[in-house]
Every structure is written in structure tokens, then in C-alpha cells.
């Protein structure tokens, strides 16, 4: 690098600095610093004339570096950066020395304040003398988004983006979009029917020109970074051409294979060629390749030859600028709660199964009948916190169970007014608009019997009745309740396979939920730039929260996809590939996954690095350095502030 010709500009800030710091003395001392060829002081450097002085001096003295000693950079860094650039210098060849907030304003002792000011300036001079010039980093943004998960969260985000004119790829694992919400009967607290509000949205997604849906598909590989990701999507064969299928159902009728219907959570049977539910999107039959025996009967009866049992899976590649992860949740496996007899007694079911019983399109056409014998249910027991808030299962609260259980009880009572409904609960958590009122209504209007306490055991007695034994923790009494049907409000667990998470560099918390950058301030972003999260994959939440968060995620994605290029500070980490030994310590400490291994050595992804320098301090061989704050510079700065001491 050429010999440093540093100009130092000392601001009086009226009396703010000059009143305490002996500016003349400072100017004298600073002039002696190595590399300093010009020193000027002025009453208000930030004023136009002040800035002019800098601009002129740069040209006149042909300075190649500038230090402005004034207030804190957070106030006027940009001001002087512009001036420096106007003078024809790169802003990266300029530093500010804060001698007001860090000296004149905090010390009365003029001598000491002056000496300290000199040291602070000396540090800036030392640093700037080694500063290099860098160009801002720009990266092209692909104006296209990938949404993973076709539930209410994914659909909402997809629609928001699509409506803003962004092309969206929506990837759904199952044969139809709609997610868990499609299984629900009514939704609390308003009790409007889930299908009625969901299916129009599904249709909208289906026909939206900006949305491309891949069902029966999963994301298997992700490359690239913010603004420009390349993803591989594995599309399993539907074996029925959605464009041809007319839903005539002939194929279904002739199909000899019967298997439990997962959409009804096993409460009904379906065929190997089937449609998950009438309003499924895409609106077409699908062949269950796992169970299909390829007998070929369906082929014979299909009037439009829509069926092709030989269809193979395919891999699709897409380029996107942003990725929204909305893979949702599952219920905690009830089998693990041995004491409740789930999976042993047919009449012990989970909340989603109960939703299906309640659903007009469900296996019982909405009638609440016992799965075991189809008899109507007179006595029903709901067990809340089944798995949740339990150290042995899920330590956390699943949040929505209190509300839907109240809803369940209400709907039971509406259908069986003379029936008895008992709810075992630990606490009632009804935080939300209209929630508390809803629960009160259930307790009072519908005389649902709320018992505070855990059920310790469920068994079938001699008369074939289910018996739930628990303790009422309020009265301290042991309680035994007989029931025809028992509903477990199973906890919520995230549905995000770790493999995909690590491909997306989405950090996962100890329970498997996606980890946001900041719980309060950046709730839909993750450490990896350009990847956003929403819905139950981030934590248990109800539909309204999910939708809110989905729109938030969409908005964040839009913020990114709205730009043609992303421009970023060039002051990031840089690897000396000759020195690097590929020990991976920097990869480990980097909070942004901004460092990757290329040919056995580290390489910084310029678009991801935020320039914190953690890698620099961790590298055992000093191979990775923070631009314009290298080890050499840091040591020079330390020497400078201590000049004349040791």
C-alpha cells in the first residue's frame, strides 16, 4: 500500500469539546503521529464549511486517509463519510475518533481529558493507516419464493406473496394442501366451520396464477444463500392426472384394497386409489403407491384414462430468493401415554379424531358415536395436557388445547344436551380475544364439569365402561368418572425433519421447534438470511396467530424480494486460504452459517457474513481476518491508546 498521508480534523463542537479538551495541544501531539501529514481544527466540523474544509484538504494535501475527531460515529459517521467521498476518497479510508462523548463530556480534568483525546485519536490514526478500500457487496435477488408446507400458514404466506406479484412455489408433502385445519370441524371461539373458511382459500391458492403447487413433494436439497437459493424438490408420483380426473369415483369403487383413512385418523377406511376429502386441492384422485397392488381394475374403469400406475417420481429444480418454512405440527404420539390406554381401548381417542367425529364430512357424518360399537355417547371425558406440561413427555404448554377442549365440550353438549361432559385440566389458559368469555360460557351455559387435576389411570371395567381415575386437586378428593368416550388433548410437537432443517441452516431448539433470531424483535427470521418461519413449526399457536405470523413472514420475504440487488457492507471476514487448515472452528462459531468449506478450506459467503469478527478471534492460526479490523490493526490500536506508557 502507498505511504499513508493521513489528515486529522478536530472538531471543537463549539465549547462541547474545546471547553475541556485543549484542542491546540491535541493538534500539536496528533501532528507527530506516524502517517499524519495534515491537522486542522474547526469550531463545527459537521457544518457545511467544516465539511468543505475536509473536502478541500483531501484534494489540496492529497490525503489518502482521514480521521475526524469529534462526536460519536453513531451521530455523524455518515455525514463525514459523504464529505470524504466528495473529496474523492473511499469512506473505508476514514475513521471517526469520539472525543466528545468519550472524553470532553465525561471528564472535568482538562489535562486528563486532553491526554485521553490524544490517545483516542492516535487509535483511529493507527487503524485508518491500515484500512483498505473495499467495494460494497451486491447480490442479485431472484424474485421468487419457496413456501414449504401447504397448511393454513403456508397457504396464507403464499397468497400474500402471490398477491404482491411474487411467483411462489408451494411444496406440500401430502396429496392435498389444507393441512391440519382441513380436518377441523368448527374453530374457537367463533365456532365458524373450518371447512367453510378454509376451502375458499384452498381454491384461491389453486387457481392463483402466481402460485405453483407441488403436492406429494418434499424439498431434498438447498444450495446458495439469501436472494438466490437453488432447491431440489422430490415429487412422488400421483399416478392420476389431475387435469384429466373428473372425480367420477369409478376407480375408487372397483379398487379392492382397503386401508385406514389417515384424513379421518383411522376412524374410517379408504381405498388404495382415493381422494383425501371432497374439497382436496388439487382436486383429483391419488394412488397410494405403498398399498396399491397394481391389479389394474381402476385402469379399466377410468373413462378418461387419467390413471398411469407406472408414473415415476421426478426431481424438480427451482431457483428462489426467499424460503418460508411452514411445516406445521403433529400430535404427540398418544401410545406413549400408557396410563390413558390410547391405542388399547378404541374409545380412547385424540382431539383430532374427535374433530373428525364432529365434522359433518367425517366418518360419522358429524354424529358422536363410539368407534368401538357405533353406539351414541352419553358420558364423555376430556383429558387436557395429555403429554404437555409433563417433564416425562413435553415440558412445555401446547397452548391451544384448553380452547379446543372447551369447544369440544360445547359441541358435545349441543348434540347431546342430556349427556355429561367432564374435563380434567391443570390450569385453564384462555389468553386471547374472546377466549376467556368462551370458556366461561362453556362452564356456565353448558354445565361442563371442569375438574382440576390429572387423570392417573384409564381402564375398562367389567361392564365395559371406561373409567378415568384422578384426583381433584381443589378438593383433594379421589375422583372416578365413568365414560363412553375419552378424548385426549394431546400435546403439539413440531413437524420439521432435522435433515431439512440443517439443509436450510434453520437452528432448532431443544424440543425441535425452529429457533427464531430474537423471540421479541425478530420472531419470523432465522439466523440464515432469506429464510423465514411461521406457524406451529416455530411454536404451538392457534389459527389466528398462525395466520398473523404467516403474513409477517410474507412481509419480511417481500422486503427482501422487493429489491433487485441486496447491497451489503464489505467490512466482513476474509480467509487467507494459504494459512487456513480447514479445522472448521470458524464455521462452528459463525452465527450466520456464513462460512463454508471449499476444497478443505474455509470460505466466507459475502452475502451472509455480518462482520462480527467472532471467527477472527477464534481462528487458531489467524487465517481468517475481519476487514479493516484485522489482528494487526487491533494490536496497533491497543499500542496507540497506550503510547508512551510502557
Amino acid at each position: 500500500m502507498e505511504q499513508p498521508r493521513i489528515g486529522v480534523f478536530i472538531c471543537h463542537c463549539g465549547k462541547n469539546i474545546a471547553g475541556i479538551v485543549d484542542v491546540k495541544k491535541v493538534a500539536e501531539e496528533v501532528a507527530k503521529l506516524p502517517g499524519v501529514v495534515y491537522v486542522e481544527d474547526y469550531v463545527y466540523m459537521c457544518s457545511d464549511p467544516g465539511q468543505q474544509k475536509i473536502i478541500e484538504a483531501i484534494k489540496r494535501e492529497n490525503l489518502n486517509a482521514v480521521v475526524v475527531a469529534a462526536c460519536t460515529p453513531s451521530l455523524h459517521y455518515e455525514t463525514f463519510a459523504k464529505a470524504v467521498e466528495a473529496g474523492g476518497l473511499s469512506r473505508y479510508r476514514y475513521e471517526m475518533a469520539c472525543i466528545r462523548e468519550h472524553s470532553s463530556w465525561v471528564h472535568f480534568d482538562k489535562k486528563k481529558a486532553t491526554e485521553k483525546a490524544i490517545r483516542i485519536i492516535a487509535a483511529a490514526v493507527a487503524k485508518v493507516s491500515k484500512n483498505k478500500v473495499y467495494e460494497p457487496i451486491t447480490g442479485k435477488v431472484v424474485r421468487k419464493a419457496l413456501v414449504i408446507g401447504g397448511g393454513i400458514a403456508g397457504m396464507t404466506a403464499a397468497l400474500d406473496l402471490a398477491n404482491a406479484g411474487v411467483p411462489v412455489i408451494l411444496v406440500e408433502k401430502s396429496p392435498t394442501i389444507g393441512g391440519k385445519m382441513a380436518m377441523l370441524s368448527e374453530t374457537f371461539p367463533t365456532l365458524d366451520c373450518a371447512q367453510c373458511i378454509l376451502t375458499p382459500k384452498m381454491a384461491e391458492v389453486a387457481r392463483h396464477p402466481n402460485i405453483k403447487i407441488y403436492t406429494l413433494s418434499e424439498v431434498i436439497d438447498v444450495e446458495g444463500c439469501i436472494g438466490n437459493y437453488r432447491v431440489k424438490i422430490l415429487k412422488h408420483p400421483r399416478k392420476v392426472d389431475p387435469d384429466l380426473c373428473r372425480l367420477c369415483s369409478f376407480c375408487e369403487r372397483v379398487c379392492p384394497v382397503k386401508v385406514p383413512n389417515e384424513f379421518d385418523r383411522g376412524l374410517s377406511m379408504r381405498k388404495a386409489i382415493y381422494i383425501p376429502f371432497p374439497q382436496a386441492v388439487p382436486s383429483a384422485y391419488v394412488v397410494d403407491s405403498e398399498h396399491c397392488t397394481k391389479c389394474g381394475l381402476c385402469l379399466k374403469v377410468c373413462p378418461v384414462n387419467a390413471i398411469n400406475l407406472e408414473e415415476k417420481e421426478e426431481i424438480i429444480e427451482e431457483e428462489v430468493g426467499a424460503i418460508i418454512v411452514a411445516t406445521g405440527y403433529d400430535l404427540y404420539p398418544g401410545e406413549r401415554l400408557k396410563e390413558y390406554g390410547y391405542g388399547i381401548y378404541q374409545d380412547v381417542i385424540d382431539s383430532l379424531q374427535f374433530e373428525r367425529l364432529l365434522s359433518a364430512s367425517g366418518p360419522t357424518k358429524g354424529k358422536i358415536l363410539r368407534p368401538s360399537d357405533g353406539k351414541p355417547v352419553k358420558r364423555i371425558v376430556f383429558i387436557q395436557c395429555a403429554g404437555s406440561r409433563d417433564e416425562n413427555h413435553l415440558p412445555y404448554c401446547s397452548k391451544i388445547c384448553c380452547m379446543y377442549t372447551a369447544k369440544h365440550a360445547l359441541m358435545f353438549k349441543e348434540q347431546v344436551p342430556d349427556g355429561e361432559a367432564t374435563i380434567f385440566y391443570i390450569d385453564i389458559r384462555a389468553a386471547g380475544k374472546g377466549y376467556e368469555e368462551f370458556v366461561k360460557r362453556v362452564q356456565e351455559e353448558f354445565q361442563v364439569n371442569y375438574i382440576r387435576g390429572r387423570v392417573s389411570k384409564v381402564y375398562r371395567d367389567v361392564n365395559g365402561d371406561l373409567v378415568a381415575i384422578g384426583v381433584d386437586t381443589l378438593s383433594g378428593q379421589r375422583i372416578t368418572v365413568r365414560a363412553d368416550l375419552i378424548v385426549l388433548a394431546l400435546g403439539i410437537v413440531p413437524k420439521l425433519n432435522p435433515d431439512l432443517a440443517s439443509k436450510l441452516k434453520v437452528p432448532i431448539d431443544q424440543y425441535g421447534f425452529a429457533q427464531e433470531v430474537h423471540p421479541k424483535l425478530r420472531p419470523v427470521e432465522v439466523a440464515t438470511g432469506g429464510v423465514f418461519i411461521c406457524g406451529a413449526v416455530q411454536g404451538p399457536k392457534d389459527i389466528s396467530e398462525t395466520v398473523t405470523q404467516a403474513s409477517a413472514a410474507a412481509a419480511k420475504a417481500l422486503e427482501l424480494l422487493g429489491k433487485e440487488y441486496i447491497v451489503r457492507e464489505p467490512l466482513i471476514a476474509e480467509v487467507d486460504r494459504d494459512l487456513c487448515n480447514g479445522c472448521r472452528i470458524c464455521l462452528t462459531v459463525c452465527p450466520y452459517g456464513a462460512i463454508e468449506m471449499i476444497e478443505g478450506k474455509a470460505k466466507v459467503n459475502e452475502l451472509l457474513c455480518e462482520g462480527c469478527g467472532a471467527c477472527n478471534a477464534s481462528c487458531p492460526v489467524g487465517a481468517i481476518q475481519l476487514r479493516n479490523y484485522t489482528d494487526e490493526q487491533l494490536h496497533l490500536v491497543v499500542k496507540a491508546v497506550l503510547r508512551g506508557v510502557a
Binding site: L579, N581, C583, I585, T588, V589, A617, P620, V621, G622
Partner: protein, 328 residues
Amino acid sequence: MRVMGKLKLAIVYGAICGGCDVSLVNTGEKLADVLEKYDIVYWGAAIDGKADMLEKLDKIDVAIYMGTVRTESNLKYAKLIRDKADLVVAYGACAVYGGIPGLGALMEPEEIMKIVSSTVTTESKEEIDLPEELKLPRILPTCTSLVEILDPDVMAPGCPPGPISNDGLLKVLIDYAAGKKPEGKIIFGEEQSLCHECPRKPKDLSKIVMPGIYRLHEIKLEEGKCFLEQGILCMGPATRAACDMPCIKNNMPCIGCMGPAPGVDDVGLKYLSAIASILLVDKEKELLENGLARHLDKIVDPLGMFYRYTLPSSYITKLSIKRRKKRG
């Protein structure tokens, strides 16, 4: 009976363990060949001839120094070869970095004698007044390496130097005999750290997390698995590759006898920072300060671990000794 035309080679000692001698002898025939071209004017362990031979010579061509510098006489020999020898070789970890005895760098003579003379079995003491000739040489206030006191031309690291250092040295000796004096300073070994060559790559190739700190006696080490990922301190990341990894192949972590890798100015400080950084990096927010401190406390002897062979060259050692002097 020096054959004319042969070059003069001296092998002199500081405070040694003899391992360097053996390592050199172990090169067997190779050494014999090289020695065709040299006259060993001095080598305590292997040939007769007294130190005065060394002093009497006005010029030595090559001098190989083994051992660390702990006593006045170690120092005297060091200066002697610097004055007389054309090519000075620091051979072995002790000569290059201070080595194991370098761990005594912070101990002053009085302290050492106090401890040595108070071991459980030391029960009888006697002092006779001695003529000068029988007096013992003074112990230096610190223990240091040849490199710290003079500027050798060639450095052969290792405890003891392995094949790479030995082959390197023998080649230098042959070249020198052929009139080719090495240009600049030579240090034998790779321009890389051990991790670069180590077969024990981390499981997840995108990171290397220490799951805690375990001491050698606490766990059974898994063969083939990165030591750091087993919570074992391994000096690999900061240590020069020059050894063919005998310890690691023997399922023991590196303790850094080859000295700092290129780019490392102070091996202890750099390594400390690297280790602290990757320790439980995935659990920081769960464990918080106290939790992390508890794990860090299992590094009971950072000095002895991080500076096992390089204590005299540590910045903190120099600071601490300078301070001792100033404070008197």
C-alpha cells in the same frame, strides 16, 4: 586425526534428556552416509574427546544444539557455537521452543532448589566448602530455548524430531557439504496445522463442537473420532504438522511438540481462544455463564496444556519475567 577436506560438525548439549541423540542415531545408515562428509569434532554421547577441543577450534562448520537452556554452562555452549559455527541447528523441541523442561520457565533457582531439596526422601544434607573448580554452575533465573537467545539458521522441531525433521536435517547437511548453504531460516515441517492432515474429521463436516471438557482419565477415547468432539483437548488446530501424527494414530491427542503452526504467534493464547469459542457453542444460552464456567473449570492446568512445549516463547511468560525483574 582429522582427514583434510572434511567439514567440522559439533553436536553440543544444553539441558537434555538424550532423546534427540537417540533419534539422530536411529537414522542409522542415513546418518553414517552423511558423516562421511563430516568430522564430528564433538559429540558427548557418542565419541571421545573433551569440550576443550570445541573451545580450541576457531571455526566449526555446522553445530547442532540439543536441549534447553537452564544453566550458565548451557548458555555458554550456546554462545560458543554461535561464535564459532557457520551453520547453527536448533535440534528438538527443547532447543527450538523450550520443550518439556521449558515448563520450568517461571521458576527461579531458589524455588527449584527449595522443592528439589525437600522431596519426601531427601533426609540428609551436607555442605563442604569447595574450591572454585568443584563449584556447580549457576542456574539461570529462567529456562529458555536456543531460539530465544540466538538466531539459529535451521530449526528441527519435535520431541524428539521425527522423520521429517531428521530427513530435512540430513539433506541440509549434505547440501551444505556440497557448498549449498540454506538461504534464510529453515524450519522443518509442513506449512499447515495438524488438523489439515488429520484423518479424524468431525462428524458434521460443517462444524466441530466440544461437548464439554473431559480429562484423559475420565473417558475411553473413541478411535477415529475427532478428539475435540470427544471433549478432549487436542493441540492439533494450533500445532505444525511435521510428525505424521504418531500420537493421534495411537489414539492419544496431540500435545503440540512440533510447536506452533504457521500463522500462530503465541500458541497458548490462540489455542485458548479457539477452544473457548467452540466449547458447548450449541448450549451457551442454556448453560449461561455459571454453567459454562463449570465446564471451563475442568481445564485445570491451561498453562501446562497449552504451553506444554512452548512456555519460554509465550508472551505472558516474558511479561511475567519482566515484571519479576522490575518488581525485584
